[in-house]
C-alpha cells in the first residue's frame, strides 16, 4: 500500500489532459464495477472518489495503449478491499473472497454489459407512464431509496418499494429477451 503514497507517484502536471480524457471515458464502467463489489451507492461513491485520486497520482505508471479501464478497475478492487478491511466485522459487506470472485466475473462481462446497456434504453421506452414515474423518482438525481421516492411521489412506501423491485425485474427480463432476439436474428 505504501507504494501508492510515495511522492514519486504524483502525476506530472502536463499529463492532466490525458488523464481527464481517460478517466471521463472510464468513469461509468469504474463506478459500475465498484458498485458490484460494494452494492451500496454511498460506499461505492466513497471508494470511487478515493480511487480517482489514486489513479491521478499513479497515472504516470499507466502505459498508453493499454486498457485504462482495466488498470483503473484493478486499483479500484484494491481500494474496495481496503474499505472492507475497515468493515470486516460488518455482515452487510461481502468477504474478500467473494469480492475476488465477483470482480473476476465482472471483468469477463464487459462486452455483454455494454450490449445490455444499449438494450436498456429501448426497454425504458416500453414502460408504462406510471412505472416510468416511479423509476424517474428513484433515479432522477443520485439514486434514492424507495422510501424516499415514496415521499416524493406521495405514495405508500410499500407500494413504491414493490413497484421498484417489479420494474427492475421487468427491465431485466426485457433486456434478456431483447438480447436473445438479437442473437437469433
Amino acid at each position: 500500500m505504501d507504494d501508492l503514497r510515495d511522492q514519486s507517484d504524483f502525476a506530472p502536471r502536463d499529463s492532466t489532459e490525458s488523464f481527464v480524457s481517460q478517466f471521463a471515458r472510464s468513469e461509468f464502467e469504474l463506478r459500475s464495477y465498484i458498485l458490484t463489489l460494494l452494492p451500496h451507492w454511498a460506499d461505492a461513491d466513497d471508494v470511487l472518489q478515493r480511487t480517482s485520486i489514486i489513479l491521478w497520482r499513479k497515472f504516470g505508471e499507466w502505459q498508453p495503449g493499454t486498457n485504462f479501464t482495466a488498470w483503473a478497475c484493478s486499483i479500484a478492487r484494491f481500494e474496495v478491499k481496503n474499505f472492507l478491511r475497515t468493515k470486516e466485522r460488518d455482515r452487510h459487506y461481502f468477504t474478500d473472497e467473494l469480492v475476488e470472485s465477483i470482480g473476476d466475473t465482472r471483468a469477463e462481462m464487459s462486452v455483454e454489459l455494454a450490449d445490455r446497456r444499449d438494450a436498456l434504453r429501448a426497454c425504458l421506452q416500453k414502460l408504462s407512464p406510471r412505472d416510468r414515474e416511479v423509476i424517474d423518482a428513484c433515479y432522477a438525481h443520485e439514486p434514492i431509496l424507495a422510501k424516499d421516492a415514496a415521499v416524493k411521489l406521495g405514495r405508500q412506501v410499500n407500494t413504491v418499494y414493490k413497484a421498484l423491485i417489479r420494474i427492475r425485474r421487468v427491465l431485466f427480463e426485457c433486456i434478456e429477451r431483447s438480447l436473445a432476439a438479437g442473437g437469433r436474428s
Binding site: 501508492l4 503514497r5 481496503n82 475497515t86 445490455r116 439514486p143
Partner: protein, 552 residues
C-alpha cells in the same frame, strides 16, 4: 440462459432488495451462498447491479449527464473531448463560416480550456469530499509533502484528504480525524489518513489519543496493524518498517500486517511495549509465537482501568444517561447520572417521588463497587426523570450488566424501557429492552401500536454477571443483541419507532412494560448506559472486556 427462470428471478429480486438495503438477513445469507458457489448466480447479480448503475446514468441529474456526455465522446484527444460540451450550447450556425476564422480559433481554444477546467473542478470537488482529518496545530514543521489543500504560504489548519501521502522532515503537528481520534506526529515522518478512523504510518513516530466514539481506530504500519480499544498509544516505525508500540493507557490489539486482522491478535495493556520485526512479535522484550497472543489484562488495578474507561465514556456527546450504582452508595440515596451531555437533569433520588419502590443495595461484580438488587415480587423499579433526550426514536444503544436470579423464562421482563400502557401513536413504546421466555429481547412500536420485536438467538446466562448490549440501527432497520461482547441475535424490523409523546410515557429501569402485569426484573443490575447512537462491535467488545471483573 441455462439458468431456470425462477432461480434467476430470485437472484434478481434479492439483488434488487440488496441495492435498496432491505434484504433480510436470511435472504442475504442465501444470496451470499449462491454468489459464492454458483458462477451463473454471480453473472445474474452483476447484470442486475449494472442495470442499477445504468439507470442512474440514463435518468440521472444533468450534472452527471454532462459527465456522461464526456464519456460518450470517443474523441482521441482532450481538446475535442472538451470542446464538445461547450459547442453544444452554442447557437446553430456558429461553426458554419459566418464568423471570422480568428474568432473561431480563439473560441475553440477558450472552449478547450473551459472544458478542461470543468473536468478538473469535477475531480477536485470529489477530492474535497474526502476530507479525513484537520491539522489542528503545528510546531516548527518542515513539510516535505504538504496536504494538497494547503496554500504555499500557510499550511496551518489545512485539511488532509483520505489516502493523501504526507511527509514532514521536522517538527511536530497534531491532527484530528473526522472519527474523533487525535494524532500527534513527530518529524521526520511519513503517513496518510486513510479514512475517518484509519491511518497509515510508514515511517516516524506518532501518538494516538482515541476517544470512546472512535474505538476501533486502526493504525497500519508496514509490519503491523494496531487496533485501538479506547486508549492512548505511541507508535514508532523505523526505515525498515519495524514497528514499536507503547500502550500509554487502555489497551490495543496488535496484529502482524502479513497475517491480517483475522488472525488472533496480541492484546497489549497499559504499560506494555511490543515490537514487530521480520514477522516476530516481542512483548516487553520477550518474543511471542506469531498469532498466539492471548488477551492480557491490564497491569495494575483492573478496576482503576475500568473506571478510566467509564470516565472517557461519560464524555461521549451521544451518551444520554449513565448510572454507575457505585460511588454514591451506600452513603447517599442519590443516583447520579454520569453522562456529561445531560448531567444532573437525569440524576434521581432513591427516596424521591421518581422511585416507586426502592431497589436495595448489594455487592457488585467488583469488590470496589456495589450494584442494585431488584426483587421482582416487590415490584422494585426506578423511574427516570422526564427528559426529552430519552425520547429516542432512531439509533440507540443500551448496555447494562446484570446478574439475573434465574433465566426468567416466564413473561416479558424489561430492563430499560420507555413507554406506557396503551397502544396509540401518542403512547407507543419507543424502546423496551429486556427478556422474554429466557431470551434477550428488543422491542418497540410504530404507527398506532404496531410491534417490532427481535429476540436473541440463544439463552442468556443466569446466576452470573453478564454484559448485555442492544443496538438499534435505524438505517438499515436492525437490532443487534450482544451478550458478553458477542452477537447473540440480530434481526431487521419493518418501521422505526414513532410517537411516544403522551405525558404518561416514561422511562424506567428494572421495570416491566407498564401496566402489563407483574413483569419485574429479579436480580442485580449495574452500570446502565443509554446512547442515542449505535455503538460498534469493537466498542461493545471493549466495554465488556475492560468491564468484566473476571478475565474474559
Amino acid at each position: 440462459m441455462s439458468t431456470p427462470a425462477a432461480y434467476q428471478q430470485q437472484i434478481v429480486d434479492w439483488t434488487s432488495a440488496l441495492l435498496e438495503g432491505s434484504l433480510l438477513a436470511a435472504e442475504r445469507e442465501k444470496l451470499t451462498t449462491a454468489l459464492s458457489s454458483d458462477p451463473s448466480a454471480r453473472q445474474i447479480y452483476v447484470r442486475m447491479v449494472d442495470l442499477h448503475a445504468s439507470l442512474a446514468r440514463l435518468l440521472g441529474s444533468p450534472a452527471r449527464q454532462s459527465t456522461d456526455a464526456l464519456i460518450e465522446q470517443s474523441a482521441s484527444d482532450a481538446v475535442t473531448l472538451s470542446v464538445a460540451p461547450a459547442a453544444a450550447r452554442m447557437p446553430r450556425g456558429f461553426f458554419t463560416g459566418e464568423l471570422p476564422v480568428g474568432v473561431l480559433v480563439a473560441t475553440v481554444v477558450l472552449g478547450a480550456f473551459w472544458g478542461l477546467w470543468q473536468a478538473f473542478v469535477l475531480l477536485r470537488n470529489r477530492a474535497d469530499a474526502q476530507i479525513a482529518a484537520n491539522i489542528t496545530s503545528q510546531e516548527n514543521v518542515t513539510w516535505s509533502i504538504p496536504p494538497v489543500s494547503a496554500s504555499d504560504a500557510d499550511v496551518h489548519l489545512a485539511q488532509c484528504r483520505a489516502g493523501e501521502a504526507l511527509q514532514i522532515a521536522a517538527g511536530k503537528l497534531e491532527l484530528q480525524l473526522t472519527g474523533g481520534t487525535r494524532l500527534v506526529v513527530d518529524g521526520p515522518a511519513k503517513w496518510s489518513i486513510d479514512g475517518a478512523n484509519v491511518a497509515t504510518l510508514t515511517q516516524g513516530r506518532l501518538v494516538a489519543k482515541v476517544p470512546p466514539q472512535a474505538v476501533g481506530f486502526t493504525l497500519n504500519t508496514p509490519q503491523a496493524i494496531i487496533v485501538d480499544l479506547s486508549t492512548e498509544f505511541a507508535v514508532q516505525v523505523d526505515a525498515s518498517g519495524a514497528t514499536n508500540v507503547d500502550v500509554l493507557d487502555g489497551a490495543v490489539d496488535l496484529h502482524q500486517a502479513a497475517a491480517g486482522t483475522n488472525a488472533v491478535p496480541q492484546r497489549l495493556a497499559v504499560g506494555q511495549r511490543a515490537r514487530v520485526e521480520h514477522g516476530i512479535v516481542s512483548v516487553d522484550g520477550k518474543p511471542t509465537l506469531p498469532g498466539a497472543g492471548e488477551p492480557v489484562r491490564a497491569a495494575g488495578s483492573s478496576f482503576k482501568q475500568w473506571k478510566r474507561h467509564r470516565k472517557q465514556l461519560a464524555r461521549d456527546p451521544q451518551l444520554v444517561a449513565l448510572y454507575l450504582f457505585d460511588e454514591e452508595l451506600p452513603n447517599s440515596r442519590r443516583l447520579a447520572n454520569r453522562a456529561s451531555a445531560t448531567g444532573d437533569a437525569l440524576s434521581l433520588n432513591l427516596d424521591g417521588a421518581d422511585v416507586i419502590t426502592t431497589p436495595t443495595i448489594a455487592a457488585g461484580r467488583w469488590p470496589e463497587k456495589s450494584a442494585l438488587r431488584f426483587d421482582g415480587e416487590k415490584q422494585q423499579r426506578l423511574i427516570l426523570p422526564s427528559h426529552a433526550s430519552l425520547a429516542i426514536n432512531g439509533d440507540l444503544t443500551i448496555m447494562w450488566w446484570m446478574n439475573a436470579a434465574s433465566r426468567q423464562v416466564g413473561p416479558r421482563t424489561s430492563i430499560v424501557s420507555r413507554g406506557a400502557k396503551g397502544e396509540s401513536q401518542s403512547v407507543n413504546y419507543l424502546y423496551s429492552l429486556g427478556m422474554e421466555e429466557g431470551r434477550l429481547r428488543a422491542f418497540h412500536e410504530s404507527g398506532r401500536g404496531v410491534d417490532h420485536t427481535v429476540l436473541g438467538s440463544g439463552t442468556y446466562l443466569a446466576g452470573q454477571w453478564v454484559c448485555v448490549a442492544m443496538v438499534r440501527e435505524s438505517r438499515p432497520k436492525r437490532y443487534t443483541i450482544f451478550e458478553n461482547g458477542r452477537v447473540v441475535g440480530s434481526g431487521e424490523y419493518q418501521a422505526n419507532a414513532t410517537g411516544g409523546t403522551d405525558r404518561r410515557v416514561r422511562t424506567g429501569i428494572g421495570v416491566a412494560e407498564w401496566g402489563m402485569g407483574a413483569e419485574y426484573f429479579t436480580g442485580l443490575l449495574d452500570e446502565v448506559a443509554i446512547f442515542s447512537r449505535t455503538l460498534t462491535e469493537p466498542e461493545i467488545k471493549t466495554y465488556y472486556e475492560l468491564g468484566c471483573a473476571e478475565q474474559p
